[in-house]
């Protein structure tokens, strides 16, 4: 029997088989990296003062500020946001309370009406207060809702990164994006860049940069988030100040009573 009795049908088949055999390993590796990243950066609570600047293509700038208090992490977290500027939104409060297996309860308090109102889970495609961020972009990335694959390695701001492709699972809710490329810093496994591809896009339509990574309360955190809408040419920059992690949260902070309490956060 000569070697020619069991040849590979073609070099292409060999490459295909190699890819098929290698794919689960790349997916496992990507999942492992994301799990490690979550474990490393999971916090019990977070609070900060956010300052947001939207710059349009023609250079006009709009600013908004708020205070944010999170208790818990990702899908299990309670969130209270209180806008502090500009004057037209000052005092507006947003409260999100988790419910197992369901969309979170979301409430809005409008000081102009002196009323709180229950709202439906925000259309994830809607823009967050008129910025380049959509509501989906504001969610903390839950990697279990994606099929992930380690693609390559790259450099972001001089830091070596893993590049992971994440495609939303069909059973994880409707996503605005067909694909996301996650750039995870190799040294601290921290997400520093995300390229966002809408359906049919070959180039990213938006890019999120997480910059000015610092150590706060023993946790790495990006103190500046920049969302670039590469199609419109606009940019939104969010700066996080007075960051604090894992501080005890006052009893009653994430309640409806506190949401309607003007000036009480």
């Amino acid at each position: 029997m000569s070697r020619r009795r069991f040849p590979l049908a073609s070099p292409h088949l060999a490459l295909f088989l190699l890819a098929v055999l290698a794919f689960p390993a790349r997916a496992d590796e990507a999942r492992s990296l994301l799990v490690q990243s979550e474990e490393r950066h999971r916090t019990k609570s977070q609070e900060y003062e956010g300052d947001l600047a939207v710059t349009s293509k023609d250079g006009k700038e709009r600013r908004k500020s708020w205070r944010s208090y999170r208790l818990g992490y990702a899908g299990d977290s309670k969130m209270l946001i209180r806008f502090t500027a500009p004057p037209e939104v000052k005092g507006v409060g947003f409260l999100s309370l988790p419910r197992p297996g369901k969309n979170p309860d979301q409430w809005l308090y409008l000081p102009s009406m002196k009323r709180e109102r229950r709202i439906a889970a925000q259309d994830r495609s809607a823009s967050f207060v008129g910025t380049d961020f959509n509501y989906e972009d504001m969610e903390e990335l839950d990697h279990e809702k994606y099929d992930v694959k380690l693609l390559a390695e790259d450099t972001v701001a001089g830091q070596p990164c893993f590049v992971i492709e994440a495609r939303p699972r069909s059973d994880a809710g409707k996503s605005l994006y067909e694909k996301k490329l996650l750039f995870l810093r190799k040294d601290i496994l921290y997400l520093v860049r995300m390229d966002l591809f809408r359906s049919g896009e070959k180039e990213p339509g938006k890019r999120l940069l997480l910059e000015d990574v610092a150590l706060v309360d023993g946790r790495h955190v990006a103190r500046r988030m920049t969302m670039q809408d590469l199609g419109k040419g606009s940019t939104t920059v969010i700066r996080l100040e007075k960051l604090a992690f894992d501080r005890p949260q006052p009893e009653g902070r994430h309640t409806l009573q506190n949401l309607v309490r003007e000036g009480g956060d």
Binding site: A120, G130, P250
Partner: protein
């Protein structure tokens, strides 16, 4: 109660605004074609300690019509809006992590349905601008809190604040009759101000997708009952003036509120039973159903409101029930440059209605320019169609700080 980053904190905010209204028509030369308003309002908020907060809001206003009697009226019980008014002045003490006691001058907002809510409708309004839906503050005591899924809100107002109805003029109070060939106009008569107030308790709870609530109140109703006095009519220039007296009736009421999130929709409903021995008011059974849905950066709100009991007088005279039954549709959308809004109120009894539109452009984060129009239409027997002279365009500039 320890708060992260606690400490004495004081903040100031406010705005300066000028507005102009241009009317499409007038039945009487007594009504101006153009009206201008200038307003300045300032708010100071101070957190004295983690559990004690103070707030005060003062407004000063000048109107080109000069419809004003007093310079300052801390109780807001005068017929006309004063030059200076205290919009809010309260102290709030958190006696427990989720229980607050508030005292002072308070602005309240109750109910669930948008555009019209029977839980909210009895609160006094300032109809100096009849299309603005501005509420009047109250001197009162309030305690509200939360225990688990249950919330409560109790209010006691020892001396009621009456509704401020529009200036008696042919534009705001048209009368479709003549005497000896002279037009009839309504003027202010005696105002038998309420000598007591009211109290109310509201309970709310959230169970899964459902929010439920119940409330009850008793006391003097803030909306006035009008009694025209043709026996006191007098000649006023080229018209016959008929004074309209005001009085305030006692009313007890109870209601329920519901809302439910269903996918992208929020469904809301309210029902209220109102009881009064006053023959000019009678009982009422008011219900509302509404839905809300967000479409990207826009929100659509639809409400249907009605009174299942007939009123003993023309509902136009009852202010808080004047528009019932009605269908309301509100569309509002936020844009990068500002926002715009359209409101359509269709009266279902007489077929009249009101269309309101408004566009607000944020020139900067602190400077907004607003253009709008209010167009009542339809049968002259209805609350909107009877006031065709109120069709107007408006423009305003607001600088906030």
């Amino acid at each position: 109660m320890a708060w992260a980053g606690s400490g004495v904190a004081q903040t100031w905010s406010g705005f300066v605004e000028t507005r102009g209204f241009a009317y499409a028509d007038r039945a009487s030369v007594r009504d101006p074609w153009v009206v201008g308003w200038a307003t300045a309002q300032g708010t100071v908020e101070q957190r004295v300690s983690p559990s004690l907060r103070l707030s005060a809001t003062l407004r000063t206003e000048v109107m080109s019509t000069g419809d004003r009697d007093l310079f300052l009226d801390l109780a807001d019980r005068d017929l006309r809006r004063t030059a200076i008014s205290l919009r809010e002045a309260w102290v709030s003490w958190s006696v427990a992590p989720t229980v607050d006691v508030e005292a002072g001058r308070l602005l309240l907002g109750w109910g669930k349905t948008d555009g019209y809510s029977p839980a909210d409708a009895f609160l006094p309004r300032d109809l100096t601008d009849p299309f603005a839906d501005e509420k009047l503050p109250l001197w009162g005591l309030r305690t509200r809190g939360q225990a688990g899924a249950l919330r409560f809100d109790g209010v006691f107002v020892p001396l009621g604040t009456p509704w401020r109805v529009p200036v008696s003029s042919p534009r705001f109070a048209p009368v479709d009759s003549t005497v000896a060939g002279l037009p009839v106009i309504v003027v202010d008569g005696e105002n038998d101000l309420p000598r007591t107030g009211w109290g109310a308790l509201r309970l709310l709870a959230t169970f899964s997708d459902w929010d439920v609530g119940a409330w009850a109140r008793t006391g003097i109703r803030p909306a006035p009952l009008l009694t025209p006095r043709p026996d006191l009519a007098f000649l006023d220039g080229d018209a016959v003036a008929v004074p309209s007296d005001r009085r305030y009736a006692r009313e007890d009421a109870a209601g329920i509120e519901l809302s439910r999130v269903s996918g992208a929709w929020v469904l809301r409903a309210e029902g209220a039973a109102l009881f009064s021995d006053d023959p000019g008011l009678g009982d009422a059974l008011i219900w509302t159903v509404g839905v809300e849905r967000a479409f990207g950066d826009g929100t659509l709100l639809l409400t249907l409101a009605a009174n299942a009991r007939a009123t003993p007088v023309d509902p136009l005279l009852l202010f808080d029930r004047a528009i019932l039954p009605a269908f309301l549709a509100i569309w509002q959308r936020t844009e990068r440059w500002g926002s715009w809004r359209a409101v359509w109120t269709q009266g279902l009894r007489h077929g009249d209605g009101l269309v309101k539109g408004e566009v607000s452009w944020n020139a900067t984060d602190a400077l907004a320019i607003t253009l709008g129009a209010d167009v009542p239409y339809g049968s002259r027997s209805g609350p909107f169609g009877s006031r065709p002279d109120l069709r107007r365009v408006r423009a305003g500039v607001r600088s906030s700080f």
